[in-house]
């Protein structure tokens, strides 16, 4: 599997890098993330890879040289759980900019006609475990440009609808014609949600399962079935004579080929519940949401389980235009107050985490969301790590992504100023060595909307 991926990468690298010149950014501050900051150094990029980086690096003669004086080079940001590029998930949209609306945990209804209500687990309700984001992704999605303007070069994109929504893929945020060029890892694992696909939720008419306990038992049954399916298939493969052929089940195939699961958990109760559930299912799990990660008990559960989490950056907010005499419950106010401290708390506790966009897709909202975590105690370095090397490590691609090191993929962000600051201007980003410059009107990272237009010698994509 890994060989295949590597092969694919090499192939892709050649494909877009073969006849391109090198780019050298010199005299820039280089924040490598994996090592110490280089106050004044050079990064050389060729064939979509980082050819060299350091204080005294020789610049190839054919390189297009960028004078990085006053600039900072960072590894490209990675969205650890994204729907950018997934069809039909852009409900919040860059245009709305409010950062409220669709979330990865409650995706909007699909346009597909409603299936008849399921009568039990055998009908495989809200299950599309075999789907891979890599096969669905639309490179033309406007959010890809928008995210790039905020410094994101990579995203773990997941199908998010249904109990077994499908398999996520790690993709580079290129805008091109062939989605395949974007893919770094075609299958990251299985996205599990506790919401039925197409919304609608429970009720008597919606079919099985309608209640949370039904959903959990459904997921449990699927894993039991998958285990049994594997046994029977193995037995049949060994000796098919005299044995009835096991029926092909794509839902179980999809589950079996997923090497890890993503489980939703926001409240501490859910974190506790899902940790137990993953242990019972014997599946390596990553927990997403984690808005109550700040609670002492959340920390304890996560630490005891040596868990890895993805923290939503869509921090809960007070409803707008609320009755002035209305008072929210204490607990709600507490969560609103404390949720943004979760990254800092988990960092302190030594729990592995990454941050994710959760429906945010404008540079302004993304920048503000990161800033809020920083304002609530997360250091800039740790914020950067949570959006670069940490997600790379979580998905096992730290050997090619997430930091500025020789031989890694040339995903870089070049700024004037500190990356998560209000007034910082993103000069350009490199994705697989391709240069994208944010559209002028969107130039400040703090600006609204905006697109990145490919430019420069390397920018025009084939």
């Amino acid at each position: 599997m890994r060989n295949l991926v590597t092969a694919l990468l090499i192939f892709c690298g050649c494909a877009f890098g073969a006849d391109s010149a090198a780019i050298a950014i010199r005299n820039a501050k280089i924040v490598t993330v994996s090592g110490s900051v280089i106050p004044k150094g050079t990064v050389v990029v060729r064939n979509g890879l980082i050819q060299d980086v350091g204080e005294n690096v020789s610049i190839p003669g054919d390189a297009v040289v960028v004078d990085g004086e006053g600039m900072t080079v960072y590894p490209g940001l990675v969205d650890a759980l994204s729907t950018w590029g997934m069809p039909g998930t852009a409900a919040s949209g860059a245009a709305r900019g409010g950062g409220r609306g669709a979330t990865t945990t409650a995706a909007p209804a699909a346009a597909t006609p409603a299936a008849p209500p399921a009568r039990g687990p055998e009908d495989r309700p809200s299950t599309t475990s075999w789907i891979k984001a890599a096969d669905e992704i639309q490179a033309t999605d406007k959010r890809i440009e928008s995210a790039r303007s905020a410094g994101f070069t990579t995203a773990a994109v997941w199908p998010t609808r249904g109990f077994f929504a499908g398999q996520g893929s790690l993709v580079d945020l290129l805008t091109g014609e062939k989605a395949g060029e974007m893919v770094l890892v075609p299958s990251l694992g299985q996205y599990i949600s506790l919401t039925r696909a197409g919304g609608g939720g429970g009720g008597m008419g919606g079919g099985f399962p309608s209640a949370l306990m039904g959903m959990i038992s459904y997921i449990r049954q699927i894993y039991l079935d998958a285990g049994h399916y594997q046994l029977v298939k193995d037995a049949y493969a060994k000796n098919p004579r005299g044995m009835q052929r096991p029926e092909y089940d794509r839902a179980l195939e999809g589950v079996l080929e997923s090497k890890r699961i993503l489980l939703p958990a926001n409240r501490w109760v859910e974190i506790d519940r899902m940790i137990h559930f993953a242990a019972e299912l014997k599946q390596p799990a990553i927990y997403y949401g984690i808005r109550e990660g700040f609670e002492d008990r959340s920390v304890k559960y996560l630490k005891d389980a040596n868990a890895t989490v993805l923290i939503s950056m869509k921090w809960p907010e007070k409803a707008r235009d609320q009755d002035p005499e209305a008072e929210d419950p204490y607990r709600q106010m507490l969560i609103r107050e404390k949720a943004p401290t979760t990254p800092a708390v988990l960092k302190k506790a030594g729990i592995k985490f990454a941050l994710y966009s959760d429906g945010l897709d404008t540079p302004r909202d993304l920048q503000r969301a990161v800033k809020k975590a920083i304002d609530n105690g997360l250091s800039r370095e740790d914020a950067l790590r949570a959006l670069t090397l940490s997600p790379a490590e979580i998905y096992g691609v730290q050997d090619r992504l997430g930091s500025i090191e020789k031989g890694k993929i040339a995903n870089l962000v070049v700024t004037k100023g500190e990356i998560f600051d209000d007034r910082t201007k993103i000069e350009f980003v490199l994705v697989d060595g391709n240069k994208f410059v944010p559209a002028p009107e969107a130039a400040p990272a703090g600006g609204r909307g905006g697109a990145t237009a490919p430019s420069g010698p390397n920018g025009v994509k084939k």
Partner: protein, 447 residues
């Protein structure tokens, strides 16, 4: 079993004389409006209390009830039910509350009261001799069938016994049930009372509320208030035209029904749970110069002085109720009556229900456990209710000249184990048996 025998004996005795004239001897009388009188006698004549005293003697041949070791209280009054109008609440065909229409002052609960409802004997077996019965389910906002309703009709004060609803009537128009608009946006004090907490948190994570904004809610509210005001304006205009009696004047049943309200003879009874809603309802009553009774408030807030100074009575809901939000103390509902009492507000209790109407005294007792003085609790289920609903001169206490709505009991009537030995409505002893006692006897005897 013993009780049952006694009852039969009483019933037989009652046949001998006029059935609303009798003499109770040696009973402890708790008049509610005065100090208790131990071991006295009570003379009931023609359905009324004729005399009370230690020295009075029974006229010759009069039926005598031995009250030794027993207590005599006025019958209790439930200030909000739908008795007679609703039989099996889940079965719509058996329910006659919640008519359609926005302004329905002409509807009368009384004429839909089914005297044979199984609820009457069940409820009165616990000492409740009269109730207010409302045209819409009072506590539930009166939106039973008709979407947005402003005026649901006339609530009736009735006795718990009678061959017909006319027999049962005390006051067919004791109150006009008015649903004052409220600002219905998301959120109350500490969240929604009836939303699952986990759901609320889920809502929070989903990015806020699905319900409308405050701006929208306020706009709706203002439109509704304008509409209600317009109806009152029109009713007043009608009142003028009626007085002028100009040619071409046409009778209008809705406006006719509003006249006693406009004249201040009949109060509007308005459900108002929040402090703001109470305030708004009172402001409306002030503007319209009408009498008002507040139903089922969930908080007192700063409304105490206003309620007290304007002499506005309040019908409290069940104390057997959950706190009204997540953050409220666990004994919130139990403590509320005490708060109203301390603020000097005149209170009575309503069960806002039929099935729980018989637990009226226990709701009052629960308030006592959490701060309401005992005497105030007792008054709230007797004399206060009578006064609020305009029958204070006829009932609600044991006083000369009042109806003999009485209960003869073994102890404190607010305590569960207390047994009712006899019950009188207008001096007539009423049957304490009911569907439930009959089924009990029948199946207890099953071999």
């Amino acid at each position: 079993m013993k009780t049952f025998g006694l009852l039969i004996a009483c019933a037989i005795a009652a046949c001998a004389a006029a059935n609303d004239t009798f003499f109770i001897r040696g009973v402890d009388v708790y008049p509610v409006t005065g100090a208790e009188m131990k071991g006295v006698s009570v003379l009931v004549q023609d359905g009324k209390i004729a005399d009370i005293g230690a020295k009075i003697v029974a006229p010759k041949g009069m039926k005598i009830v031995d009250g030794k070791g027993l207590r005599l209280y006025p019958g209790m009054i439930d200030s909000n039910t739908e008795l007679g109008l609703s039989e099996v609440s889940a079965e719509r065909v058996t329910v006659d509350t919640g008519e359609l229409g926005e302004f329905m002052p002409q509807l009368k609960a009384l004429s839909a009261v089914n005297p044979e409802s199984e609820h009457f004997p069940v409820v009165r077996a616990n000492g409740i001799t009269s109730v207010m019965t409302f045209p819409a389910s009072g506590g539930r906002g009166g939106r039973g069938g008709g979407g947005s309703q402003y005026i649901s009709g006339q609530a009736a004060l009735i006795h718990m016994d009678g061959w017909t609803w006319e027999d049962m009537e005390i006051n067919r128009s004791a109150a006009m049930h008015l649903i004052y608009p409220s600002i219905a946006s998301r959120g109350g004090r500490g969240g929604l009372a009836n939303v699952d907490f986990a759901d609320e948190i889920a809502l929070l994570f989903a990015g806020g509320s699905a319900a409308g904004t405050f701006t929208e809610a306020k706009r709706n509210y203002e439109t509704q208030v304008a509409k209600l005001t317009e109806f009152f304006d029109n009713a007043r205009q009608y009142q003028k035209e009626r007085t002028a009696n100009l040619p071409g004047f046409k009778r209008d049943l809705k406006f006719e029904a509003m006249l006693p309200v406009l004249e201040g003879k009949v109060p509007v009874a308005v459900p108002a749970s929040r402090e703001r809603a109470i305030h708004d309802a009172i402001a409306f009553a002030d503007r319209e110069h009408i009498k008002i009774v507040i139903l089922a408030p969930q908080e007192l807030g700063k409304e105490g002085p206003e309620l007290k100074s304007k002499n506005i009575p309040v019908i409290l809901g069940r104390t057997e109720a959950l706190p009204e939000n997540q953050d409220a103390p666990y004994d919130y509902a139990e403590s509320l009556p005490g708060e109203f009492y301390k603020a000097g507000v005149k209170i009575a209790f309503g069960t806002f229900n039929n099935e729980f109407s018989r637990n009226l005294p226990y709701n009052a007792a629960r308030a006592v456990a959490y701060g309401l003085p005992y005497d105030a609790a007792l008054k709230a289920v007797t004399i206060n209710a009578a006064e609020i609903w305009g029958a204070g001169d006829k009932m609600g206490s044991i006083e000369k000249g009042k109806w003999a709505d009485l209960m003869l009991v073994t102890g404190d009537p607010l305590e569960v184990p207390t047994q009712i030995k006899a019950l009188y409505i207008k001096g007539k002893e009423v049957d304490l048996s009911n569907k439930q006692t009959r089924l009990y006897q029948k199946y207890l005897a099953r071999p």
